[in-house]
Amino acid sequence: MNGLPVVSNKKWQREDGWLGVVPGRTPIKEAIEKLGGMCEVSEMANGFSFDFKEGLVRVTTIEQNGIVSKLWICGDQAHELVIPETLKEAEIGFQNLHWVRHDVGVEIFESDGVRLAAAAGSDNGRIAWLEFF
């Protein structure tokens, strides 16, 4: 089953966010509540990351503004986390998805407000991770 809850004729847009979290708008406190409360906090060079569901979901906040900067989701349980499982599924949900660079074992694709890593070596690579920003 496709992970993306695509409503026909409607593509995902930045303001849709994901799992109730809209990067650039949702306060980090609200995001923590929406994502289940329990999280592990780590320091980044310019902010903090908050990991949920044993690291499968992460939100970040940078530059001390208290707003979610990015929502990151691991592809390992794509179905459960309602994200696309493959590159072709992602292309259905996200407009203008285009290749930007290679990383170890994966190809990185982007469209407006979305970045994802799909397994390298396949035209329809499994999604390794996906992030909304």
């Binding site: 990067p23 592990e40 780590s42 980044m44 060079a45 310019n46 902010g47 990351s49 990991d51 690291g55 499968l56 992460r58 970040t60 940078i62 530059e63 900067s69 990015k70 990151w72 691991c74 592809g75 390992d76 285009h98 290749w99 660079r101 290679h102 990383d103 170890v104 074992g105 994966v106 970045r115 890593a117 397994a119 390298a120 070596g121 396949s122 035209d123 690579g125 499994r126 390794a128 991770w129 992030e131 920003f133």
Partner: protein, 440 residues
């Protein structure tokens, strides 16, 4: 344009082949497995003298052909020794016979490796994947289908040497299968050569390693052969295979998950940094005085530069003032960064924590000499790699009823039963390096 070191498979000095990059240069620029690419590279090959039939044969099969009297002797330079494989008449017919004999030996070796390690090799002419081609506007599109060729004996022996010491990193995530090796007839990214790539999922959803065209030409088969050549560049077929299998180990150990990857990266002195403009997670590298550096570029066609950063990852100029662009920042050479690093990279290829870790893992496993160098040069990297390695071994091969790992990695790189004697050997090796004054 740099010249490759003379081929160990050729006696001739008149026909040394020329490449746009040496393996060492590729490592320096960060192209061992394709990240990131320098787009300024010139692809036009320098003028080459046409190869003789014998040289073409050597190149194709990875052997040296020596004329002795009226005979051809076909030699594999392996593990620091000359291994005479076959002898034929010293003419075209003899070479035809050798071709058939070598194909037989190759197929036997493939069967042996498949049986022993569950690894597989792509067939001659097998589809790999469509090539990526960059357009003028920096965007990319898929091109024609890349095909695979069969590996030659030199490649198989280099891979075999790595497999014995890379265990269990040659296995796929479930552990039921080994990776598949492909030998590409065109670069994965057009006009952008690398040596090899780790592939999370090939066309059949299988973990794989792609060797780029020419990646193994003229290479020493093993690190012992690299030492015999008087080089110290860590670019033998064995070493490259180890490196890619370390990436496979990372994949099997869930490095796709941000917190897992960062846990290991932090041990190596890397910290995640979220670019405020693009929200891309980048890496900053910590120096001995807790100062930080970042490797970045302003534009996709720019060269990557190591830059000075403030403690929050923002770029800085020579005066320590914040600047917006890479070109305005204070720059450092790769060797300067290597010397300044809190955790010294084990080789010159450390474009990010994954690559630095893979290089450390390669040195840890490949042989005693390289492991010694790793511990001497970079004790923290040694410890991180050792910890990761043991986790992987234990995960795959289990623990005793006492909760001890069943297997550990010996100093030679091979797995051994976890016995007091085996542990004592490792401890003695490490102590000798950590406390050299106790040597006597």
């Amino acid at each position: 344009m740099l010249q490759l070191p003379e081929s160990p498979f050729s006696e001739s000095k008149t026909n040394s082949r020329v490449s746009s990059e040496t393996p060492d240069k590729l490592r320096e620029e960060g192209d061992l497995c394709g990240l990131p690419r320098s787009l300024e590279r010139k692809e036009a090959p320098e003028k080459q003298t046409p190869l003789t039939e014998t040289q073409k044969f050597e190149k194709k099969h990875g052997v040296t052909v020596e004329m002795r009297g009226d005979k051809y002797v076909y030699i594999l330079k392996l593990n620091g020794q000359d291994k005479e494989l076959i002898t034929t008449d010293g003419n075209a017919k003899g070479m035809e016979k050798a071709e058939a004999e070598l194909a037989k030996l190759r197929n036997e070796k493939i069967s042996e490796l498949t049986k022993t390690f569950k690894v597989t090799f792509a067939q001659e002419g097998e589809d790999v994947i469509k090539q990526w081609i960059q357009k003028d506007d920096c965007s990319w599109e898929r091109g024609g289908m890349i095909k695979s060729r069969r590996p030659n004996l030199a490649e198989l022996h280099g891979i075999e040497a790595a497999l014995y010491k890379a265990q269990p990193s040659h296995l796929t995530k479930g552990g039921g299968d080994g990776v598949k090796f492909y030998f590409l007839n065109a670069n994965y990214y057009k006009g952008d050569p690398a040596l090899a790539y780790f592939i999370q999922q090939d066309k059949n959803n299988h973990q794989a390693v792609y060797f780029e065209p020419g990646a193994n030409e003229g290479k020493p088969i093993t690190e012992a052969d690299a030492d015999r050549m008087g080089k110290h560049h860590l670019y033998s077929i064995e070493a490259v295979t180890h490196h890619e299998l370390m990436h496979n180990a990372q994949h099997n150990s869930n490095w796709n998950t941000a917190n897992v990857k960062e846990k290991w990266a932090r041990k190596l002195g890397w910290l995640p940094f979220e670019d405020p403009k693009t929200h891309e997670t980048k890496w900053i590298f910590t120096g001995k005085q807790s100062e930080v550096y970042r490797r970045d570029q302003d534009h996709c066609k720019d060269e990557f530069k190591w830059c000075s950063c403030g403690k929050h990852g923002g770029l800085q100029d020579a005066e320590g003032d914040a600047v917006a662009k890479v070109k305005e920042a204070k720059h450092f050479t790769l060797d300067q960064i290597r010397d300044l690093a809190a955790v010294k990279p084990s080789t010159r290829y450390f474009v990010n924590p994954l690559e630095m870790f893979a290089e450390g893992g390669m040195k840890y496993r490949v042989n005693e000499r390289r492991r010694q160098e790793l511990l001497q040069d970079s004790p923290r990297l040694y410890e991180a790699v050792k910890e990761h390695d043991q986790e992987e071994i234990t995960l795959r091969y289990g623990k005793t009823t006492n909760g001890e790992p069943n297997y550990i990695r010996s100093v030679s790189g091979k797995l051994v039963k976890n016995s007091p004697e085996a542990r004592a050997e490792i401890t003695a090796f490490e102590e000798k390096i950590r406390n050299p004054e106790k040597k006597q």
